[in-house]
Assembly symmetry: C2
Homo-oligomer: 354 residues x 2
DNA sequence: AGTATTTGTTAGATCGATCTAAAAAAAGTA
DNA sequence: TACTTTTTTTAGATCGATCTAACAAATACT
């Protein structure tokens, strides 16, 4: 259970100035001082100033921990993402953070690294800390049970970027991954490619399945066959991309283009191509997904799909804020439409043949 | 002062299961149940199991808020950085986060965007939340006053990446920016460059001043003159880099190489060069600072200096952990030695003349 | 002036845990 | 069996704020 080990704790020596001391100093009651702190309108100008002066004089520090305990409220919000190393999530974090900050919330951060047990542990911690709400990107194969526990305690939950099986009851902000996958694949087909690998990511994540769905749709629509052996799962990391493209190039009938699960994978794919002596954007087309800031600066600049992570974060924060203020309406679904950004990595010179 | 506006709060409806209820259910006292939760050794096996069962049965959730209030301890750590958008800091965040996570701390995140008032507000918030310690990268020109307030409350503070005027009393983990600036500049001088611009960043930050110091040292050591008009301050962003290089190119006697304050600026510089019709790495040498992951993947790959942000984060977390466990020794200073990483952006073809 | 209303203030209980110091139970010893 | 000593359990105060409901004081209304 919740072992509060002593080793990880710190003891404070200097005693805190309490509201009671402020009240005494100002010659009013504790309750009055409390009202002043909270900016109540039922306080006369003079008392307010008396109290504010005493606060300043004594160096008073508001104790949110005590206040939250008594009031059964919380101005803390939990944010659970898979990893901060991925710019998609760090940009999402920026969006969430800025929006919540503006409203006066404090953010508690957690990263799951796609481990369900870590996610459960994080959710527990957040419950223990009495967070007022949670924004999370669920791990693949995440069971709804744990998250429902939050619902039980009437802690609003907003899902971002990834869906959860039977998670219809939760607000969700994401991008239309099917459309995104289709955009990418249609683009590559239009460029004349017929053998297009889909590299990286794992089928456990809803985003992966949707992007693949879009990939398949584009193939079908063009009347082309899908070669399942060109769909290679791998960690959604640079190294995963390197490995995946290497494996794909071993194929007796290798692909001429690759759709990376996300930009990071696509970077890996391009690095792998370079290692194999090929020049991405000339000998081989590569497309990514997310349009993180770096993708415009890669060599060559990466064709990709904008997934608007920061915007997703902002919306998620806004919705959570509404929920925390009592909005109990139906679960909202906000699906942003992706936009294809064509750059050099997918525009092979016309003198190439396939 | 600390207005706890009602609008930002959430009310929970379903009552929490308290330790008292658990105790009643298990037929023991509240105190005993508390000891069980905390894993005290003075509890007999049977009572422990009785209580644990009751906890499970009732769906008990440990209330850290209440516990922290009474025990005057805290397992929360504040992390204050300037921005998450900068990969240097997001990598630092990864280091801090992983290390603290392992020890069971929870991280409260704050970003200052280099605004002193925002930093003060954040420090206040953290005090209000009773954090047990703070890791921070101080804003340029940060006064020691506010941070000293934390010291007063015996809340340990570890500074990272940037120093603070008269901040000798605080632990500091950073990199030898002087050495880094020298490495970069020596490298460029060795490549035959004589007119080297120093672009981006502001002189308010200690990192800027140190890097510039190294830059000057290298010049002096080589017996060369410094042209102050080639030192251009600008925001440490991509756009700042673009603007700075454009300005530098206007110079009647323009530079042949640029030292970007950090990799992001260097990226901007390279983009600006491209816009001006020049090819970085062929017509103009560019070097950055930090060696963020993307710099190896840029076009061309960026010569830079490794600043080991993740490692800095890890060390900072470790030291903070020690401090929170009572280590009251002298302020520690841990200065990592930077390493030059030479890539194509600074290796001009030999047929070029200056 | 006398009552009703509004405005400002407050005492005392409370949030859910931990602490202290002391009591009860169990084990060890003579 | 009686008396320590050790182990286990507990009652009651406490952390620092907010809540409730009631009480003064000031203002408004016949």
């Amino acid at each position: 259970m919740s072992q509060a080990g002593d080793d990880i704790m710190t003891r404070k020596k200097r005693a805190r100035v309490t509201l009671e001391q402020v009240a005494n100093h100002a010659g009013v009651s504790r309750a009055t001082a409390s009202l002043v702190v909270r900016g109540s309108p039922h306080i006369s100008k003079e008392t307010r100033e008396k109290v504010l002066n005493s606060m300043k004089e004594l160096g008073y520090i508001y104790d949110r921990v005590a206040a939250n305990l008594r009031s059964q409220r919380s101005s803390t919000v939990g944010l659970i993402i898979t990893e901060i190393g991925n710019p998609f999530f760090s940009e999402l974090l920026v969006g969430v953070h800025e929006a919540l900050d503006k409203e006066g919330y404090t953010v508690i951060l957690g990263t799951t690294f796609d481990s369900p047990s870590k996610q459960d542990a994080l959710l527990s911690t957040m419950l223990e800390y009495r967070v007022g709400g949670v924004i999370m990107s669920p791990v693949p194969g995440c069971s709804v049970d744990m998250v429902e526990r939050l619902k039980q305690w009437e802690i609003p939950v907003v899902l971002v970027a990834r869906e959860m099986p039977s998670g219809e009851q939760f607000d969700y902000i994401g991008i239309d991954n099917v459309a995104g996958g289709r955009l990418v694949t249609e683009h590559l087909i239009q460029q004349g490619h017929r053998r297009i690998a889909f590299l990286g990511g794992f089928s456990g994540s809803s985003a992966w399945r949707d992007r693949k769905k879009g990939y398949c749709q584009a193939f079908h629509q063009a009347g082309l066959e899908i070669d399942e052996s060109l769909i290679i799962e791998a960690p959604a990391t640079r190294q995963g991309g390197i490995n995946a493209i290497k494996q794909a190039l071993q194929h007796p009938n290798p692909p001429t283009a690759a759709f990376g699960y996300n930009d990071i994978v696509a970077f890996g794919v391009m690095l792998g191509l370079k290692e194999a002596g090929m020049i991405p954007g000339r000998d081989f087309a590569v497309v990514g997904f997310d349009n993180i800031q770096e993708s415009s600066m890669f060599n060559p600049p990466l064709t990709t799909v904008s997934a608007f992570p920061q915007l997703i974060g902002t919306y998620a924060a806004d919705i959570l804020h509404q929920r925390m203020n009592g909005d109990a309406g139906e679960a909202k679904r906000l699906i942003l439409q992706p936009e294809l950004v064509v750059r050099e990595s997918s525009l092979l010179h016309s003198d190439h043949q396939f």
